[in-house]
Amino acid sequence: MMTDRRTSELIDDVAREMTAIHTMPPVRARVLARLDTVRRTPVPYFTWATAGAALLIVCVMVIPMRPPSATRVSMGPAAPTARAADTTTGAVSGAPATTLAAANQVSVLKSAPSGANEETPAEAEWRARRIASLPAIDAGAIQPGTLDLPLLSMAPVTTAPIVMTPLSSDDDDLE
């Protein structure tokens, strides 16, 4: 019988022989020949993938946050009524006076001059007059109506007595 040590040595030797390379194939020549056909990637793929994903996230987050472009066709005093129906305010011409005034206030504030689009003196004058003409909102005048809820009427629950008939005991069946 082989000793454990000899068996172990035999296993190691055979295992080593199973991965032995007796004649080296021309790996270098084949690899260098293949290098001509492949394109080298100077930056790993994941770098580009990460950068692309980050750019996409920024675009997705920033684009919806941009304010709608203000198409200020005419801001002058000549067309003040057009501003009452400014789409950015959501106000309509038939709205109540208080709502319309508040909407107009928002509209005027929203159309404040930006650095890229300077306000002309005529626009400024018109805006000042519009602000001055807005009625003041009196919070105390708001009187909510009383809440009228109909009382719930519930019928009492009626329970019918359960009638149980006694079982007949047939001793004959048991036999």
Binding site: R6, I11, V14, E17, V27, L35, R40
Partner: protein, 217 residues
């Protein structure tokens, strides 16, 4: 001739002399680092030298996973080509050898999976294994001893091939002499203790197989 003489003949004849190409894996030489830098800068000659330095260990590593020389050669070439392509991303955190062998091992496992998928059969060892073992054994003068040794070597190779992939991979990588247990652990993604256990378990199972299939006497 006793069985001890036969097995001694097998073991002695199959024992490969200390591998001169056994590269130290722990520390990378300045020469390799310079070659890596040059190859990263685009020098194909430098990369060719890196291929020459590492082709043996890459082939043996692929062979441990695939047990087929043709597949191992293909995988080795693929691994080197991929290494060339990704050399720009090699940061030097691990040694070039470790990085290259990781690529090789993944490629080899991919090949093994695809081969299994297509053939629907476990990979079988290359028939040439037995032949080479037999050639190595058949140097002795006694024909009877030669026959016994060949048979024992073949049965051992068959028993190793019948191991589970985890045990077989670990045993073959360890026996190849190209890797320390620690580097095997890094390659397979398992702790050092698991590597040692797998090697011991693989030896135990092969030994038991030899005992049950005709014995080692």
């Amino acid at each position: 001739m006793s069985i001890h003489q036969v097995t001694a003949t097998v073991a002695d004849l199959l024992t490969i002399a200390p591998d001169q190409n056994r590269a130290p894996e722990a520390r990378e030489s300045a020469e390799v680092r310079a070659l890596v830098d040059a190859a990263r800068a685009g020098s194909r000659d430098a990369f060719g030298d890196l291929v020459l330095l590492h082709e043996r260990v890459v082939l043996r590593t692929a062979l441990a996973a695939l047990s087929c020389r043709a597949d191992a050669e293909d995988v080795a070439q693929e691994a080197f080509v991929v290494a060339w392509q990704r050399l720009g991303g090699f940061r030097g955190e691990a040694s070039f050898r470790t990085w290259l062998l990781t690529i090789t091992w993944r490629k080899a496992l991919d090949r093994r999976r695809s081969r299994r998928r297509w053939w629907q059969a476990p990979s079988k060892p290359d028939e040439t294994f037995g032949d080479e073992i037999s050639r190595a054994v058949s140097v002795g003068p006694d024909p009877e001893a030669q026959a016994l040794a060949r048979d024992l070597a073949r049965r051992t190779a068959t028993a190793i091939a019948a191991l589970s992939p985890k045990l077989r991979d670990t045993l073959l990588l360890a026996a190849s002499g190209e890797h320390s247990y620690e580097s095997i652990g890094n390659l397979l993604g398992i702790p050092l203790g698991t590597v040692k256990w797998r090697v011991a378990e693989a030896r135990r199972l092969v030994s038991a197989s030899l005992q049950s299939n005709g014995g080692t006497s």
